[in-house]
Structures are given as C-alpha cells and as structure tokens.
Symmetry: C2
Subunit: 254 residues, 2 copies
DNA sequence: GATACACCTTTACGCAACGTCAAAGTCAAT
DNA sequence: ATTGACTTTGACGTTGCGTAAAGGTGTATC
C-alpha cells in the first residue's frame, strides 16, 4: 500500500498540511519522493503515524514524541510518568478554575434572581471570596492563617441582622470619618468616635480583640495602597487620619 | 496614585510587556501619556486591571474579556455559563487522557516488570485497548455497542490457554490463507479450511455466532483499509480471497 | 556637567501546531 | 485540449505574551 499525502491524511483522519508539517519538522518523512516531487508513504510510515497520533492523543508535544519514537533507547515509561504528573497538575488547576467559575456564576445569578435570604447568603460568600481574592495572600502572610479563617467563619455565621448591622456600621464609620476629618483632630470627640465605631465594626469579623492588632490593622490601612484608596476616596488623607485616631484610641503605635 | 508600567506591573504581579500588550489590543489603556511618552495609569485602571486578571484566571480569552468589560450590556453570566461548559468538556477530555496515560504506563511497566501471569492479563487489556483505539469508533457504529462490549468481556475472561490457542489460531489462519491463495480457489478444500479456522478464531471473541455476521465481517475486511492491509500484507488480494472463502463457507453475501 | 544606572519608548522576531490562501506543476478523464 | 482534482513550496495568521535591539528620559553621584 502506497499513499500520497491526502490518502494517508484521510486514512488517519488528519489534514494533508499536518503531514507536510510532520515532514518539515522531521517527525515523519515519506518513504520516497516520486518523479513529480510527490510524497509517497508506505506501510511503515502508516504504523509510525499511528504511534505518533497515539502519543499526541495523550497530549504529548511533538517535540517529545520525536524523542520517544526516534531514540529507541529513550525511556518511554519515564516520559509517560512525567507527562502524567503534568496532566495531574493541569487537572488540579482546572478543577480550581471550575470551582471559581461556578462560584462566580452563583454570585452573579444570586444578584439577579435570588430571594432576599438567598441573596444574603450569597453575599456573605462573596464578601469572603472578594476578600480572599484581593488581599488573601498578603494578609495571610502578615497575619496568621488561623486569624483569616476565623474571620471567614465568623462571616459565614452572621445572621441577616448581623449583616445589616455590619453594613450600617461600615457606612457610619465612613460618614463619621468624613465629619471628624473636617474637624481636623484625631484625638477629638468625633475622631475617637470613629475609632470606636471601627472597633465595633471589626468585632463582627474578629473572634478576639486586642489593641495591638487593632493598631496594626490601622497602620496597614495606610501602608496598603488598596485599603488606603478605600479610606482616601472621599478625602485624601482619610486613611492616615483614621490610623491616628485608632492609635490614640488604643494607646498604641502599630 | 499614579503608576508607570513597571509600578503597575509589580502591583498586579504581571510584566510590563503584558501591560503594553493590553494597551496595544485596546483592552486597558493608560489614563494619559506624559510629556515623555510614558504611560501613566490611575486608580480606575488599577480596578479595571483587577477585573481583567480575574477573568483571565478563569481561563477566558482576552478577546472575550474585552467584550465582557467594555460592553456593559453584555451578559456576563451567560458568558460564564458558556465558559463553564467549555471547562467541563476540557475536564472530561483531560480525565480521559489521564486514564489512557495511566493505562499505557501500566502496560509498558507490565511488559518489563510483570510476572508471566500478570503479563498475560496486561496483554489482554492491551488487546482490547488497541482494538478500541484502532477500530473502536467505526466498528461501534457498524455493529452494536453490545456486540463489542461482549467481545471485550469475553477477552477478559480468557484463560492463559485460551490466549495461546487464539494466538495460534491467528497464525494458522494467515498460514493457511497463504497456501489457499496459492491454490487459487476460495471454494476449494484449503479455502474452506481457512474459513473454518477463521470461524474458530472468531469464537474466542464472539459470544454468539451467526453466518450473517461472519459474512459481514469478511466484507469489512475488504472495505476497511486497515483490515485489508493486515490480510493483504503477505499477498495482495488476500483480504478479497478470505472474504470470498467465508462467503462460500457461510453461503452468504455480506 | 559628565557619567552611570534604572527606567521608559517602539519595532520586531520567536514560540506550537498547524489553517489558510496563493501560484504553479501533475494526473486522469473527457 | 480542457477540466477538475490532486500535488508542490512559500508565506502569512493565529494567542499571549517573552525577549532582544536601538534609542530616549530621570535621577543620583562624582
């Protein structure tokens, strides 16, 4: 049996271009070239192609396949094991991706279709997710994993009333911060009220309170650009003001 | 906060080249260009980039991300659902790949390390696998899935003696076919012996025999290039000869 | 003010595995 | 002789950047 490119391509279910490419990269050469310059493939090429396609199905790169089929001394089993590791890693990553996509779908659908109660639980998950996504890695480095996980757990256990309370508190903190800032004195009455409100708000997330941690967090509001941006949004300098107020409130320096 | 390319790149954990590329493909443009031609990014670009990277993590193409973030009317949830389908398909394919790679590893290791008995069972699996791989899809279309599965099941239940017998029979079929072919007459004694041997061989794979099926298979040996190549290897025309002999033996035409 | 050094710019090629023209020759049949 | 279906080589396009190359800018230091 002798085949021209298209014949062999049809037989194998691939394109003629692919065969020319395989010729080009020296992975499968025709037996001979006829007088008109046509590529002619024989039985052994058919077999070799079958092998190539088999490995290709396994997702192995042509470069690696070349090694496998040319160097007969090559350790095919080892190559396969290595490849398996790669596949496993890919699978793990893919599973993660899928989980995230599904979470996101749940969230966006939640925003539009869910009942209030469902919306609320979806929102809690979203709060945690967004926190993780935005700050997770860095914060997990600065604080202990345990702290973060406890915070997340606490959020998940919030009731709907808690949620409304915390949302309200967040608003109050920002509003009072704006007033206190106009006033100009972190140590003043309004300034200290902000710090207190902030502590109240914080207690919805933290399982235990310490002045040191509170002061440290306040410092981070200044150090971390993203937190800073949040508190600086209404007035530049808001983050610093809040930090000063909290430092005075706690009697600490972060 | 204003950022040059590298500043923003560091903040986001990507390369400056990537930002220039995003500018080039109109997915993230700097707020402004300063007098020296430097790209300057602002807060809103930081946020937008965050969004972009989020979708990118989900494995969405930049082209699609562009649609998602530019056209605010775009149905993001639908896009996500569609993307999830893609991911699921990919995952399924990947699982299949992994299974195949692991099977192959088991086989190649089996060839080198297994005891004779183990080697034999590995070989059976290999026979089934190779059959599936080579002909599975097409044959499953021509015949019923049930037939194939039964055949595979029968192979798995073969004893070591069965295996030797079937291997021997395969040899005998080919040898007798060669002799009969020289003789030239499919209806002759040798020709009919080939058909009989072929039936015996077949019975190791089929759970039930019918003349129609046997004749049909014989016809396929001619129609399918790969089967044909197998029986034509020693003498061109072998496949046709075998078909004719079996058609006479069964008294049928496929 | 010269120099060093770290930044910035645009331009452009490279990667994997082909798909997809384009221009030109070949083969078999009508 | 003319179709029409094949073949050849050559070369550009795809995705998401990496990686020089060649040159301008900003700032600190001598």
């Amino acid at each position: 049996m002798e085949y021209t490119v298209q014949k062999l391509a049809n037989l194998a279910g691939i394109s003629a271009r692919t065969l020319r490419y395989y010729d080009e990269i020296d992975i499968l050469k025709p037996t001979r070239i006829n007088s008109s310059g046509y590529r002619i493939y024989g039985q052994s090429e058919v077999d070799k192609l079958q092998q190539i396609l088999f490995y290709k199905e396994l997702g192995i790169s042509l470069e690696s396949i070349k090694e496998i089929i040319t160097a007969s001394s090559f350790d095919g089993a080892a190559a396969l094991r290595e490849h398996r590791e790669k596949l496993l890693a890919k699978k793990e990553q893919l599973d993660l991706l899928l989980a995230n996509v599904e979470k996101t779908i749940a969230l966006t659908e939640g925003r539009t279709n869910m009942t209030d109660k469902e919306k609320f639980t979806g929102f809690k998950q979203k709060m945690i997710d967004e926190n993780e996504k935005k700050y997770g890695e860095e914060i997990r480095q600065k604080y202990s994993n345990k702290t973060i996980d406890q915070s997340n757990a606490k959020v998940m256990n919030m009731t709907e009333e808690d949620y409304e309370a915390v949302t309200n508190l967040e608003k109050q903190v920002l509003e009072t911060l704006a007033q206190a800032f106009e006033n100009g004195d972190p140590a003043g009455e309004l300034g200290q009220k902000v710090a207190e409100l902030h502590k109240k708000w914080l207690m919805y997330y933290w399982s235990e309170y310490s002045k040191e941690a509170h002061a440290g967090l306040a410092q981070m509001y200044v150090d971390d650009e993203r937190f800073k941006a949040y508190y600086d949004e209404k007035q530049p300098g808001g983050a610093e003001f809040l930090r000063d107020a909290i430092h005075i409130y706690t009697g600490m320096k972060g």
